[in-house]
Symmetry: C3
Subunit: 484 residues, 3 copies
């Protein structure tokens, strides 16, 4: 970032011909509406529409990308506003607020820690996003340093006190068309209901059904979550039939609140089609406590398969991301819970794991499956080949660790050459911090424009085709994939 | 593609210096003869030399690259000319014609389906190839759309009725020096014999020995294929000795028809050296039906090892491609057979799998092994390191899913930095459609020129060295590797 | 290389703007001192300070990068100066001299073999390095060919006879600040002691503790090495306590000789925390010969864990490189021993394997772990994510097969976007040949400058930030990581 803020040609190539192509393509993408089809911001924020608590609360503490790198730089998570938790497990998807709220007084200190450590973010997507946010939203173009920590903090804090910076005003300013939050099974969804009923709010904030808590039979709290589910729907979920019916009803409840998609984060992408009889037996063993680890894994794989079957009936788009070993740092997990940046990828086989599901539902016109990977080697080797054959399979955007300029570029290249662009689900931001949404879309659109400019320069696409493809990836594909 | 056809600088870099280097290097590659050392076109096509049935039959139906992406776009394979099969298994390698012939009347409709869906191929190698074919061979430079479907169909169809477009005329026009087809064990090879004996045909069309049907002991039809093999050579293949002798004789039969290479496509690249006694016992168990799955896998690994041994004796270059889960979509396989685009890569370990074979034969001057991978991570991690040590091992070209500009570029980079260029086997087209052969070579040569231009621009190679290397990769290396 | 030697813009991009940025950044890196924090040259060479025996002995025979590719080109290792060994195992880390010394008379013939085969090195890092060495050190800018073999040999040989080309003079000319050799447990370290005590030598040559011989319980010679270790420290290493104490004392001995780091090369990166009781039992079983292969693997994983514990106490930086199947070619290993170029990567899981160690020690401020990978897919998928969270974990430079321009570029991109630059350990040369040290650093600095120039051109870094980052990666990060 120059002293005057991000350059107008940020992320564009430097040779003159490619640069002019990138500018022209990006010109057609820059002001497209934002479809935020997969995020982790809370609906309650928009429901309450209260001023954000402060710079650290808004920009630092909820963002595990920042926490992670600060932790690596020797900063203890407790000094970043992460509340240490008591004995009880804080459910990843179910938690109303993912992070402890830092005390007002602590916010300035957290911001100073960030500024002091800002050089360690050189080269990362976090730096790109935050500098775009600071310049675009708050007019902060000074580099973050120890010396500028207080002045930048004050500038952001005073802006946040203005009505223009309340969540709903920002929602509108960002040009968000739809915002799909991520919500655990059993989540009350009251904020979504309130927002939908609010005549003063013209946005569209919908939940996404994230049922790992009641589907992942390898979890310790599976049985108790299943019991909760039964109570909620007044069904006997001790038995397989009642459990299946409760899951079905829970999906319906989300759909009634506007949900268009489910989201699944199992450790492995394995799926299996079991007979009703065997599923029933395994389920009983798991609830009864006699199941082996292999039994639990098998039941989980079958429940994933089952979700595809239900999707064919109720139309929820199924999102799947697997291949992450979560809560890698046991001691830190015990202190601070999940989402502290200690979830790390492992290699998995999508080709083998998804086979039963894709054989059965992969060509069903009622079904859409979006698969995300944090292992980029899976794009060219497994996901793009399969998505270039199965109509139901869509390539999820490179996200999380891969949501950065070079990684997006590599992913676009690998996906396009094998499967063409039309098999992509388009960009999703997976944002942790509300204000990062437009920055994340801007970076992706700039990188997409630069990538497509190269294909034009190499005479592989016409400029018109490239522009159309950019619009597809940025807007039309998420719209059609998720039925928004 | 512009309205006037592919640009003369297709796939070249855009900065002026690199562009002029790429042009100069490519100028030395463009008109080299074509060594088509590994294809899937049928010798019978050249033997009969009849006009091609029509645009769809020539360009669409035999090409599983196109079928795959059209299927993903919601087109049923039956409307693309794939004949649904009856109960009997259609053998992948043995089939005389891989695809059902579309009825004449259906060809125009298939072409319309392709044109209507043409935008989904943006970014793929299929699009590059087909547009080069259409412009170069048929003068079709109009973009394919629903509106141009009939006119382009008619133009191609009328060209195909001319004698200039018969297979042998095209063979000559394409500048093909040698064409090596792929033929299953037990294939009659009559077309190869007829062509070789035909004084009016000056080309060289040779078979490649693809014996998966009689070597892959995990197949259901292994025992019956082995029995056929015995009948064919008048040997008792119920016993290990007779089986080995029949395999040896079958190789000799191919060699007598001009074969210079074998081609093996096991699921895994695993090899093992068993004692004669253990091999004999496993073989008996497999034929007798008492073998476990592990036994069958073990025998298959030993037979692969055995092929290297035989190669040392009879000189056939051994080609190996592993790491593909074939016929992934069971239901579609039951309806349409193999080669519909539903074969997907899986990660495998070449380093571990090939070790027994390479320890024994990897430094044998009589032996050449060409290994292809559809997992590009294996190039830098396993294949290039091993090929940079074992004299017998050659790096197969990036093919299939990886036979596209960016993927070829990545592969060249990974192979060259670890092993140098001299360890490459050079480009093979692996063509499914006869007319795609020159287009596939053109794309590879252009990408090679662009890659080498960068090395010159970075002062890593002189222009002369780069030009020589381009000639090596395009022509001399396949010539020497396969002894053509 | 042009006839006048390597171009001043070697490895820089060709578009004018990027080129000027790369030049400017590199200008600040070119003359930084060299920290050679991880090499395989012998301290004895500097201790004795005798003239190098000749061009082949200096540049060819000790370099398994060259041997490997020459072997692949059909050259027998025995004609490259590798001495065939007798029956006894030549220990990888313990060997005083890694290679047999070629007879004087044989050196010229080895050089001729290299020159005759020089074209096979096009595109490799070996070629870049050697041409930089020849031009920079010996003024040899003629291309190596059969015709120039004798003249270049003579020129180098006559230079080597001059005092300016003795090891200590070159050490100074190269601008080496610290040289850390790699030395097996039980190595006498006499050369290090002599050098440290020598008032005439102003360099700093320190050992690195490479204890695979006494820590890898899967080795055949583990028990006898452990017995040697006991004898050396006058301890009873038949028992677990004595063994642990001897290891601790051996580390102290290295530290007393200046060591700042240990280096571990297990096959797998697996670690496990066992109870003292279980460790004791496994150790007894291994020494007693009753241990299974799984027991030996488990003990090895625990000993790796144990090393991290000891590092917290004594401060040695722990270096780890795993995922290599060593001595792949059994027959050649039997003839020539290790380090002949036949060690090949395999995929491993760092995320799973290192978890126990990182959970326990990954946030301990006393601990530093540098992990190297020869599988580049591990950078973005596993190592950069973990290093961006665990303060103790540093990203080892892309080395060995990956120590080449494009591979370094890919690694920088993957590491930086996930973890930022500050998590890197910085460049280490891992040199096999003394004279390749400056060339290896030059190539890395040039590639780093070119990579950073792109980030500046894309407005992701300011020129000042890029320059600072280049200095970090080239000098300051190795200095701080290894405490030099």
């Amino acid at each position: 970032m120059d002293a005057t803020g991000p350059n107008a040609d940020l992320l564009f190539p430097s040779d003159a011909h490619s640069l002019s192509l990138a500018r022209e393509i990006y010109g057609n993408l820059a002001s497209l509406p934002i479809l935020s089809a997969h995020t982790h911001v809370e609906a309650a924020v928009l429901e309450r529409n209260e001023p954000f608590a402060g710079p650290a609360d808004l920009l630092v503490t909820p963002d595990h990308y920042l926490l992670r790198v600060l932790h690596a730089s020797g900063v203890d998570l407790s000094s970043l506003g992460r509340r240490e938790r008591g004995g009880e497990r804080e459910d990843r998807a179910h938690a109303g607020g993912r992070t402890g709220e830092p005390a007002e007084s602590g916010g300035r200190e957290i911001w100073r820690v960030l500024c002091r450590n800002w050089p360690v973010f050189r080269g990362t997507n976090s730096r790109l996003w935050l500098e775009l946010e600071l310049a675009g939203l708050f007019g902060v173009t000074d580099p973050l340093t120890e010396a500028t920590a207080d002045s930048t903090y004050d500038r952001i804090a005073s802006a946040l006190a203005e009505d223009d910076y309340r969540p709903r005003a920002l929602y509108e300013r960002f040009g968000i068309e739809v915002l799909a939050t991520t919500d655990g099974a059993l989540d009350a969804l009251t904020s979504h209901g309130t927002l939908a009923a609010d005549p003063h709010f013209e946005g569209r904030v919908i939940p996404t059904f994230r049922p790992d808590n009641v589907l992942d039979a390898t979890r310790d709290d599976f049985a108790s979550n299943v019991a909760d589910l039964g109570r909620h729907h007044d069904l006997d979920t001790d038995g397989w039939q009642g459990y299946c019916e409760a899951i079905r009803m829970e999906r319906e409840r989300f759909i009634a609140h506007g949900a268009v998609a489910s989201d699944h984060g199992p450790g492995l992408p394995d799926t299996i089609d079991l007979s009703e009889h065997e599923a029933e037996r395994l389920f009983a063993d798991v609830l009864g406590g006699s199941a082996t680890e292999a039994d639990r894994t098998k039941l989980t794989a079958h429940l994933l398969f089952k979700m595809a079957e239900l999707s064919c009936d109720d139309g929820l788009v199924m999102q799947l991301h697997a291949g992450v070993l979560r809560d890698h740092d046991g001691a830190a997990h015990a202190r601070f819970g999940s989402d502290i940046g200690a979830d790390f990828p492992v290699g998995v086989s999508f080709t083998r794991g998804l086979r039963p599901l894709l054989e059965r539902f992969g060509s069903d016109p009622r079904f859409t499956l979006v698969v995300y990977s944090v292992d980029e080697t899976a794009f060219a080797r497994e996901l793009a080949p399969m998505a270039s054959y199965y109509p139901a399979l869509r390539l999820g955007a490179p996200w999380w660790y891969l949501d950065a300029p070079d990684a997006i570029t590599r992913a676009l290249s690998q996906m396009a050459e094998v499967a063409g662009f039309s098999r992509a689900a388009g960009f999703v931001d997976d944002a942790r911090s509300f204000c990062s949404i437009p920055a994340r879309h801007e970076v992706a659109r700039r990188v997409t424009a630069a990538f497509l400019a190269r294909l034009v320069a190499e005479h592989r696409l016409s400029l018109q085709e490239a522009t159309d493809t950019g619009v597809d990836l940025s807007y039309l594909l998420p719209k059609s994939t998720f039925g928004l």
